[in-house]
Amino acid sequence: MIIAERKPMEEIKQLIAPYKKVLVAGCGTCVTVCWAGGEKEVAVLASQLRLARSAEGSEISVLEATVERQCEKEMVVELEDKVAEVEAVLSLACGSGVQTMAEMFEDKPVLPAVNTTFIGMPEKEGLWVEMCGACGDCFLDRTGGICPIVRCAKGLLNGPCGGTRRGGKCEIDPEKDCAWVLIYRRLEKQGRLDLMRKYYEPKNYRAVKRPGKVQAMQA
């Protein structure tokens, strides 16, 4: 799931400074689940903007809407009427949603209200951790299903650095587990420790094609 975080309020206020009528547009999928851009967050941000403007003594009219997936043109089109009413759209969707919206309504500025942060999973309610760097060259089969590219602070591909702390913690952040210790223990459990001896060549990230495209065979 894509994880996002709301931008700092100062930045959002500046983004919409020129406008008196905006639409706060949420997305009902990933960013709802990570409490960044669902219907609740739309209502909260809209309320905050109204309060901000009234404290400044300037006017604002804030419309609110949430679609199921902002990265689908067919779903974004539902917002046509509301977008027509406003000067700008403040999107709480991930970067993909913002761009879909911007493409659909080319005559209106579509402004991002969240920073799309990473692909992750919830550790408990309200806490998400990064799990995947979307590198385009998955090798989780060899690391016991633990990705060192994002879960190791240094993104090391061949075992831990020299700084692993006592108890298998990371030298950069002692709160975090060393990904390579986790990988070792997982492989040990599976009787596949031989994989630790394998050498992996540095990944050539420059080879990742931008912009990425995935074509499903059956489509």
């Binding site: 309020m9 689940v33 409490w35 219907e39 609740k40 209502a43 309320s47 309060l51 901000a52 309610e125």
Partner: protein
């Protein structure tokens, strides 16, 4: 067509003096939708109720507002009236113009009364009828454990006609009950044979619970017995897995086996000492005996009881010299003061020490060294036997079982959260109960009370074979739910599970039976998919709207109906006056208060928002007040981003019997609000 609203005002037989009811009636009549306004002085009496019924029928009223005393006292009466007049009993809202208006303020409060009625009228427009249903439940009960509590609970449940299964991990029942024999003078063996002969009781020994699913009325339990896994269904589960004791002596000298105990030196547990006492072939009677207790935990009931009982019994039987080293001797169990006195009278010597004595073995005897508080001197005693201090601890399987059952343990690891609302035998999950030693260090009297409580509770729940519920009182809209699992993770009552809606996508399904109607899920749902009838956005915002129109300096207080709301009522009853600018919105739990509702209150002109819930550690819904506090902090952060105010949202913890605290909080916050110029 506009919904027809009937407003019923009551002056409570003249007890509400500072409200001009004619003026209220005139103003209220002009509110949109209000079809009729009735004045009464005895709405809750037969005459008043009859008038109300005939008015509802004649005027074809669709929603009712009752402006009278607190809903805490009369809501159920007016709900019955609605039912009799053919209206769904949920289509009513009450304005508390007595306790929280007339009695709470000095001077004329007509204007506030009008505003309170307006809040109720605004809310009632949005209320929806709620269907009632009796859900069939399984009448069988599972009792886990094989000791005194478990056997007695099963016996009593079977006697009231509920079929019961006893699930015991040991090979036979009553293994741990031996201890009780010497303390209380009865024989568990008769109890065991009674339960074995019980027609309504099934006994599964050498068996363990491996999984539990479902909710009250329909728990699906998987049991491993022998090599086999069996699945059973139960309506309720009673946990009676007891406790364990452990000697506090962690270093040498080590305990010796029982047979060696008779020969001379020894350090023994209470249980071993009991066996010695009962042993008819004991060769050498110990001449000097030392006891130690309550140094590690002075609130220990069972160790206190065991020490006094055993010391006295030994004195009577052997006439030995007996010295008891203690710290406090707390005697809160029934009859223990008497027992203590009796022991002293018989010549048992009690020596008080602040710190645990030092134990060594010297010349084949146990040497106890302590600093006696009263003598102010060191006391050294060489004795034949030391009955060492024992700790009362949760049974081995507590952790495993609590995670299977999805219930909490307290800070010492015993079942049952330390929460006054759960005492004596309830858990945060409906239909799961605790009895006896598994939930606390209890004496027999308290255990018997537990057993009675649990039998009454279970009987009341299951005996009729069905439980009445409000259908879909709290519901996740399957169209909006994104299955983020947040509600499942936060529900303190374990009432939410993923279900397949119409055989398609998985969504949060809230069990009407297991739901305790706190609304914590509704307040946290990021998709705003969960609706709690009566406390939906529309209904809360409608009330805020009514406050807003005449606001400025208004303090909006979201008051939990288990704590702050009754505290406010009590303040009114005691005529403790507080500023008129307080507007109370009644909520089922402080944890139901949504960040968005608080922000809306500010949008509508509130100067300050109060969230008032149960005291720390005593939330009716376990975590509601903790979540409320987190949200209040979050709200202050959100507001700080856009305004200059200093913490305009405040959280207060109040218990329902603390009217003075309630009033102090309101006064304090009014003062702060004034000073900050809001």
């Amino acid at each position: 067509m506009e919904t027809k609203i009937g407003v019923f005002l009551c002056n409570c037989g003249g007890a509400i003096k500072n409200i001009d009811f004619d003026a209220v009636a005139k103003k209220v009549a002009k509110f949109p939708g209000v079809t009729c306004v009735n004045l009464s002085s005895n709405l809750c009496l037969e005459e008043g109720k009859e008038k109300m019924i005939s008015c509802i029928r004649e005027e074809h009223i669709e929603r009712t507002v009752v402006a009278a005393c607190s809903p805490e006292f009369t809501e159920h009466i007016f709900q019955e009236v609605l039912e009799k007049s053919g209206l769904n009993d949920h289509l009513m809202s009450m304005a508390n113009i007595r306790e929280q208006c007339s009695w709470a303020h000095e001077g004329d409060v007509t204007e506030k009364a009008v505003e309170l009625v307006k809040m109720a009228v605004n809310k009632v427009r949005f209320l929806q009828p709620m269907e009632k249903k009796a859900v069939p439940v399984n009448r069988e009960v599972l009792v886990v454990g094989g000791g005194f509590s478990a056997i007695n609970t099963a016996l009593q449940l079977s006697r009231v006609g509920l079929r019961t299964t006893i699930l015991e991990k040991e090979a036979a029942l009553g293994a741990g009950t031996e201890k009780l024999e010497s303390f209380y003078g009865f024989y568990p063996s008769s109890m065991v044979s009674a339960v074995e002969g019980g027609r309504n009781i099934e006994i599964l020994t050498s068996a363990q619970m491996t999984a539990v699913e479902g909710n009250i009325g329909d728990f699906g339990v998987r049991i491993r017995k022998g090599g086999e896994e069996i699945s059973r269904k139960y309506g309720a589960i009673v946990i009676a897995t007891g406790y364990k004791t452990e000697l506090t002596l962690d270093s040498e000298p080590k305990l010796r086996a029982e047979d060696e105990a008779i020969s001379g030196i020894n350090i023994v547990s209470q249980e071993q000492f009991c066996r010695m006492l009962r042993n008819p072939s004991l060769k050498t009677e110990p001449k000097t005996i030392g006891f130690m207790f309550d140094f590690s935990d002075e609130n220990s009931r069972f160790p206190t009881l065991a020490t006094l009982n055993n010391a006295l019994a030994a004195k009577k039987k052997w006439g030995s010299e007996i010295y008891v080293f203690y710290k406090s001797v707390k005697v809160d169990s029934e009859g223990v003061e008497k027992l203590y006195q009796e022991a002293r009278d018989y010549g048992v010597v009690f020596l008080r020490s602040e710190i645990s004595p030092t134990i060594t073995i010297k010349n084949g005897r146990v040497k106890i060294e302590a600093k006696d508080v009263f003598l102010g001197e060191d006391v050294i005693l060489a004795c034949d036997i030391l009955v060492a201090e024992e700790l009362y601890l949760p049974a081995e399987e507590t952790e495993t079982l609590s995670s299977l059952l999805n219930i909490r343990v307290d800070s010492r690891g015993f079942y049952q959260d330390e929460n006054v609302h759960l005492y004596p035998v309830s858990s945060e999950r409906k239909g799961i109960f605790f009895v006896g030693g598994c939930r606390d260090d209890l004496d027999l009297g308290r255990v018997l009370t537990d057993i009675s409580s649990v039998v009454i509770n279970v009987h009341e729940l299951l005996f009729s074979g069905k439980i009445p519920v409000d259908v879909e009182r709290v519901k996740a809209d399957p169209q909006k739910c994104v299955a983020c699992l947040t509600c499942i993770r936060v529900c303190p009552h374990g009432a939410i599970q993923l279900v397949r809606a119409d055989n398609s996508k998985e969504v949060a399904g809230i069990s009407d039976l297991a739901c305790d109607a706190c609304g914590i899920c509704a307040a946290i749902c990021p998709a705003k998919a969960i609706k709690f009838q009566g406390y939906r956005d529309e209904e809360i915002l409608a009330q805020i709207e009514a406050i807003g129109e005449s606001s400025n300096g208004r303090i909006v207080a979201f008051c939990c109906e288990h704590s702050a709301y009754p505290a406010a009522d009590l303040a009114g009853k005691l005529r403790l006056h507080y500023p008129e600018n307080l507007r109370v919105i009644r909520v089922p739990c402080a944890g139901q208060v949504d960040v968005f509702h608080i922000l809306k209150a500010f949008e509508k002109g509130a100067a300050t928002v109060l969230v008032m819930g149960c005291e720390d550690g005593a939330c009716h819904h376990i975590t509601g007040n903790i979540r409320a506090k987190e949200r209040v902090n979050y709200c202050n952060m959100l507001l700080k981003e856009v305004r200059v105010d200093d913490r305009p949202v405040a959280m207060f913890n109040v218990s329902p019997n603390a009217p003075y605290k309630f009033v102090r909080a309101v006064n304090e916050i009014t003062k702060i609000t004034k000073e900050s110029g809001r």
